[in-house]
């Protein structure tokens, strides 16, 4: 938008990844890539950067050499066929991969220039700033109020009046307040699927994270509930930078500003597939004029 040059920088570095898979980078290219990465890190409108990010589950490389960034106040969509590593990359952004036994992250993930996997980054603090909404709505078996107040409580808010205000604000923010304001003390499990997912969004935004990661948040919902979540995303993206993983290309096209297309490639020495980032650009560009033929094939529905 403002500075098209940054996208050129990025599509060039992504292009490097693709065309020179086996050829080692020359010193000059390596330095240039590092300089780009540092430049991205320094920019105030870039929240998260990933540089040569690879994730392993034991010996298996789930996704490799991902370089990309997330811009503040935008919705970035990850699309691609199953097993292409898009959820894995998403989970690197708030260290949810830590919870998987044997998961290992290589490369750099920076949040405002701070290494998320560095010694000064505490996983709890990372997740407080970078929230997450899961594929399946997962409200706690508590009241609606207690669900939303959970995050503020574990982060030290004790006063009832403060909690009341946060709960109301968050539920309004998640477009759920009018539906539940008269039954805040009833069970969250009694809500419909779409309401539960909006409650999970309210729960996440109650601690005012900067980034909201959404891992296929609509895949368990009907079209009407999906539309409401999509509207909601448009409304809250001014306050919260959103990264969404979706299986639904139309959804990515409708809601996102930038799109990253991942796919799988067959490993030469085993039959397991490793995910790679193929193309990362403005959503409009990806959907109208993709650079890579694999992106075009996926977008036009020829595979995946």
């Amino acid at each position: 938008m403002q500075q098209p040059s940054i996208y050129e920088i990025d599509s060039r570095s992504v292009g490097d990844d693709m065309t020179q898979q086996s050829v080692p980078d020359t010193q000059a290219q390596q330095t240039a890539a590092n300089r780009d990465f540092e430049a991205l890190d320094a920019r105030s409108d870039v929240v998260l950067t990933a540089h040569d990010l690879s994730v392993f589950y034991g010996d298996f490389c789930a996704v490799r050499d991902v370089s990309m960034y997330i811009k503040r106040g935008e919705i970035t969509a990850f699309i691609g066929p199953s097993g292409c590593g898009k959820s894995t990359v998403l989970r690197c952004f708030n260290r949810m991969n830590d919870l998987i036994l044997g998961a290992r992250v290589e490369g750099d993930v920076h949040y405002h220039g701070i290494d998320l996997y560095g010694p000064q980054a505490d996983a709890g603090e990372v997740r407080r700033r970078i929230g997450m909404v899961f594929q399946k709505p997962n409200p706690f078996p508590k009241s609606i109020y207690d669900n939303v107040a959970y995050g503020p409580r574990v982060n030290g808010t004790r006063r009832k009046s403060d909690l009341d205000a946060i709960v109301e604000k968050s539920l309004i923010g998640a477009a759920l307040w009018d539906e539940v304001k008269d039954r805040l003390s009833s069970s969250a499990m009694g809500l419909s699927g779409g309401q539960q997912q909006r409650l999970c969004i309210a729960r996440s935004i109650a601690i005012e994270p900067e980034v909201l990661l959404m891992d296929e948040p609509c895949s368990a919902l009907d079209p009407i509930a999906t539309a409401r979540i999509e509207d909601l995303m448009q409304e809250i993206k001014k306050q919260f930078t959103i990264v969404i993983v979706t299986h639904n290309m139309q959804q990515a096209g409708r809601v996102s500003d930038s799109t990253a297309f991942f796919t799988t490639e067959v490993n030469p020495n085993s039959d397991r597939r490793t995910g790679v980032l193929v193309e990362f650009d403005r959503t409009q560009k990806i959907f109208s004029n993709p650079v890579d033929p694999r992106t075009e094939a996926y977008i036009t529905g020829r595979f995946g």
Binding site: M96, L101, F134, N138, F140, G151, V154, N155
Partner: protein, 293 residues
């Protein structure tokens, strides 16, 4: 689409015979199990009916069967089982939380602990009695024939079971709760305290009460410890001498005087009632706390 569709079952002789045989097997199994239990129960109640009155629970043991009661044994049992619960529940639940929530499963020492817990649960209770005799009653701790000695030995006995049932209950808590909590910036301990334990609580409670009630009926390890059989006062503290119901029953049954037989039978009925009360409490508490949201 030739014939009209029909949902009426086609009679099949072989199939219905097999069905019948299978059902007969099931009922036979049920019948044998219940029959044996009922026979014992009726036999005990009939034998002990003459002594089933308040005198039984109010009187202390005595050499004269007409006046003998089991008050000190009832209080002894309550003391020993109570102290056993107080020691074994925090330890067992703590160990279960560690193994399920904190232990990295690929570390050799965690696998060793797991293996040991499984094995300990299968060790005959007499072995714990011998261990207690050597190290708790005498030897290292030298606590003598006291309530605390019996409780420590019974703790060793029930601890592995408490750990196993607590782990089952903790494992049954959906992972999505943990992930949701951690994603909100909660620490692992906060997640355990606010999500895992409250949701696992009914299961932990039920399993623990059932395993502790095993301690109530246990006599072998306490016999090894040489529990006294003739105590005419109730325990007053951890260092009191004690006797427990199973030991008292054992003493009355092995007494040569014929008159002690109804007394022993009546004591068994009391023990069964205590067990029943404990198990009923377990079921009640489970239903009470299993508030399905």
């Amino acid at each position: 689409m030739t014939a009209a569709m029909s949902l009426v079952a086609v009679p099949n002789r072989a199939r219905s015979v097999k069905d019948l045989i299978f059902k007969a097997f099931l009922f036979a199994g049920l019948g044998i199990a219940l029959g044996a239990l009922l026979t014992l129960l009726v036999n005990v109640v009939v034998t002990g009916s003459a002594r089933l009155n308040w005198d039984l629970v109010q009187n202390m043991p005595s050499a004269r069967p007409k006046r003998a009661g089991i008050q000190s044994a009832i209080f002894g049992s309550l003391w020993v089982v109570g102290v056993t619960s107080l020691i074994s529940l925090p330890l067992g639940v703590g160990a279960a939380v560690y193994l399920e929530e904190f232990a990295t499963k690929d570390r050799w020492y965690n696998r060793l602990i797991e293996l040991n817990v499984q094995n300990l649960a299968a060790i005959p209770s007499v072995v714990f009695g011998i261990l207690g005799l050597a190290f708790i009653k005498r030897g290292a701790l030298s606590l003598g024939s006291t309530v605390i000695t019996a409780s420590l030995v019974l703790t060793m006995l029930v601890l592995p079971t408490v750990v196993i049932v607590s782990r089952e209950a903790i494992r049954a808590v959906p992972d999505s709760f943990r992930q949701g909590s951690l994603a909100l910036g909660a620490t692992q301990w906060e997640t355990v305290r606010r999500q895992v334990l409250p949701n696992a609580f009914p299961g932990i409670l039920t399993g623990s009460i059932l395993s502790v009630s095993r301690a109530l009926g246990e006599s072998a390890p306490l016999l090894m410890l040489g529990a006294l059989t003739f105590i005419t006062f109730n325990p007053t503290g951890l260092d009191s001498a004690y006797t427990v119901l199973p030991i008292q029953i054992f003493a009355y049954i092995s007494n040569a005087k014929k008159d002690f037989e109804p007394l022993a039978a009546a004591s068994i009925v009391v023990l069964l009632i205590l067990l029943l009360v404990l198990n009923a409490a377990a079921i009640y508490l489970r239903n009470r706390f299993q508030k399905r949201w």
